[in-house]
């Protein structure tokens, strides 16, 4: 028990003293998850809205594929992107393997189906009368798109938060594409795996606390936004 208590004490010290290595690790996590979620939002939300509103052959199948991809294992993404970025792969010349960019690419692939899939559900969940109402009021397609986004904003926020939560806490992509390079691609989850494998409890625990704290903060923020809007 003393072992665990000492670990907790040391973890709190690391957090309280703003340990440089610790801050660097947290910043990598926030930056990669931020960039990939931003990309997934910019592409996934419009894509999801289109799929939800348009009718075209194969639409149901597409939604099913999106929903399946929402549970895509991170190691599969890691493997696929790795094979493209490695020196033997088609994009090898870019030298992107083991870089922050490679992590963002992998995390984007992870987040996109989540953001897009949940956007589809959010828009489909809206009142069915909106569409004819907007049309009868003479809204052009740009205006009605804005109305839809506005009406579905809670669902959309939820989609983005879910995407961020997934990439922020994942380890497979970060480990395989980032390579856990100290001071460069080492993020919270890969650092935790390494520290545990080295039998170093404190740093891992400090990072775990931050991981949970960020998850909590985002959910609180989301809750506040929702309440304010009501």
């Amino acid at each position: 028990m003393e072992y665990v208590l000492d670990g907790i004490k040391e973890a709190l010290r690391i957090i309280a003293t703003f340990d440089r290595e610790f801050l660097q690790i947290v910043s990598v996590s926030l930056r990669t998850a931020g960039a990939s979620t931003l990309l997934a939002t910019l592409t996934g939300v419009p894509f999801g809205v289109l799929v939800a509103l348009k009718t075209f052959p194969g639409r149901r199948a597409l939604i099913m594929v999106l929903n399946t991809l929402m549970s895509l294992p991170t190691v599969v993404i890691g493997l696929l992107v790795y094979s493209f970025l490695s020196g033997h792969g088609p994009l090898g010349r870019l030298g992107l393997l083991y870089s922050v960019t490679a992590m963002v690419v992998g995390q984007f692939i992870l987040a996109f189906p989540i953001v897009a899939g949940l956007t589809v559900s959010a828009v489909q969940g809206l009142d069915g009368r909106i569409h004819p109402t907007l049309a009868s009021l003479g809204a052009d397609s740009h205006q009605s798109l804005r109305m839809f986004l506005n009406e579905a904003r809670f669902g959309l926020c939820g989609a983005i938060v879910a995407g961020f939560g997934r990439v922020f806490s994942e380890i497979g992509v970060s480990m395989m594409l980032g390579g856990n390079i100290k001071g460069y691609t080492r993020n919270i989850t890969t650092a935790m795996a390494l520290e545990t494998s080295k039998g170093e409890f404190a740093m891992g625990l400090a990072l775990g606390i931050i991981l949970l704290a960020v998850a909590l903060a985002i959910n609180v923020l989301f809750g506040l936004l929702q309440r304010k809007a009501k």
């Binding site: 931020g34 960039a35 020196g87 030298g95 963002v104």
Partner: protein, 270 residues
């Protein structure tokens, strides 16, 4: 619309690369040089002098060589002479230089159920572990340490398999921790053992056989196989690691248990 797009691009660029892009070099190395803290001791002077960041990817020797063959890293610091020779002979690596050496140990439970404590002959020790079916933890990851271990089994004409033989596929420190939790025998490089010896209950049992010597070599990835590798910078790093200044730093790197690595750039062992 265009201004928004510009904003997004700027935000993305800042997230991906917040500092000014400095030139960098990718070094793949074994877990034993990295996790012992040696590289944190000898790389910063080089980084400062040449204004370059060295990104260290810590994997087993087998994986490090693969990475260099694929052009994914610029230079490797590894320890498996046979694999290194093949790597150079096939034209993937150039300019192998020996940097330093230490040796391997067999450590295990203090009670020593296989009765190997104090043996000078490592083959005899392997035979006793095999015959008594005592738990043995293997790296199982094609690392340099794993290569040596496999070589020792082959030399003793034994084929380890069964419940007592665990291949865990992880780095040296991780394997040491696992061996400690499982109270088994393990082949380990002296540096990793010395750095962690007061974290574990396992004790040193066999050392001193010449089959247990462990030389480390540094090799640049060939620019003829992959034109994008940073050959000149890699050569500068090789120059630094084999310089008298850095060799002195290596010799001076000690932990409570003693000296971890012995410089050997000017008197290669093989």
């Amino acid at each position: 619309m265009r201004t928004r797009l510009t904003m997004v691009v700027i935000v993305l660029a800042l997230l991906v690369n917040p500092g000014l892009a400095k030139q960098f070099l990718k070094l793949a190395t074994t877990t034993s040089t990295y996790e012992t803290g040696l590289l944190d001791h000898i790389l910063p002077p080089f980084e400062k002098k040449h204004n370059v960041r060295v990104y260290v990817i810590s994997v087993g020797t087998g994986k490090a060589i693969k990475l260099a063959e694929n052009g994914d890293v610029d230079v490797i610091l590894v320890h498996a002479k046979r694999m290194e020779d093949k790597f150079v002979a096939e034209g993937f690596g150039v300019n192998r230089r020996e940097v330093m050496y230490n040796d391997f140990l067999i450590i295990g439970p203090r009670a020593d159920p296989a009765g190997i404590c104090g043996l000078k002959d490592v083959q005899e020790a392997m035979k006793r572990i095999f015959n008594t079916k005592q738990r043995f933890i293997s790296r199982g990851d094609d690392s340099g340490t794993h290569e040596i271990e496999k070589h020792l089994w082959v030399k003793a004409k034994l084929r380890p398999e069964g419940e007592w033989y665990l291949e865990v596929g992880q780095g040296m420190t991780a394997v040491l921790i696992i061996a400690d939790e499982k109270n088994g025998y393990v082949l380990i490089d002296r540096a990793t053992y010395l750095v962690n010896c007061n974290k574990v209950r396992l004790v040193k049992l066999v050392e001193g056989d010449k089959d247990l010597l462990n030389p480390y070599g540094i090799i640049a990835a060939s620019p003829y196989k992959h034109s994008h590798v940073k050959y000149e910078l890699a050569m500068t790093l090789i120059g630094w690691l084999t310089s008298p200044e850095c060799q002195k730093l290596i010799a001076a790197y000690r932990k409570e248990g003693g000296q971890l690595f012995y410089p050997s750039a000017d008197k290669p062992m093989r």
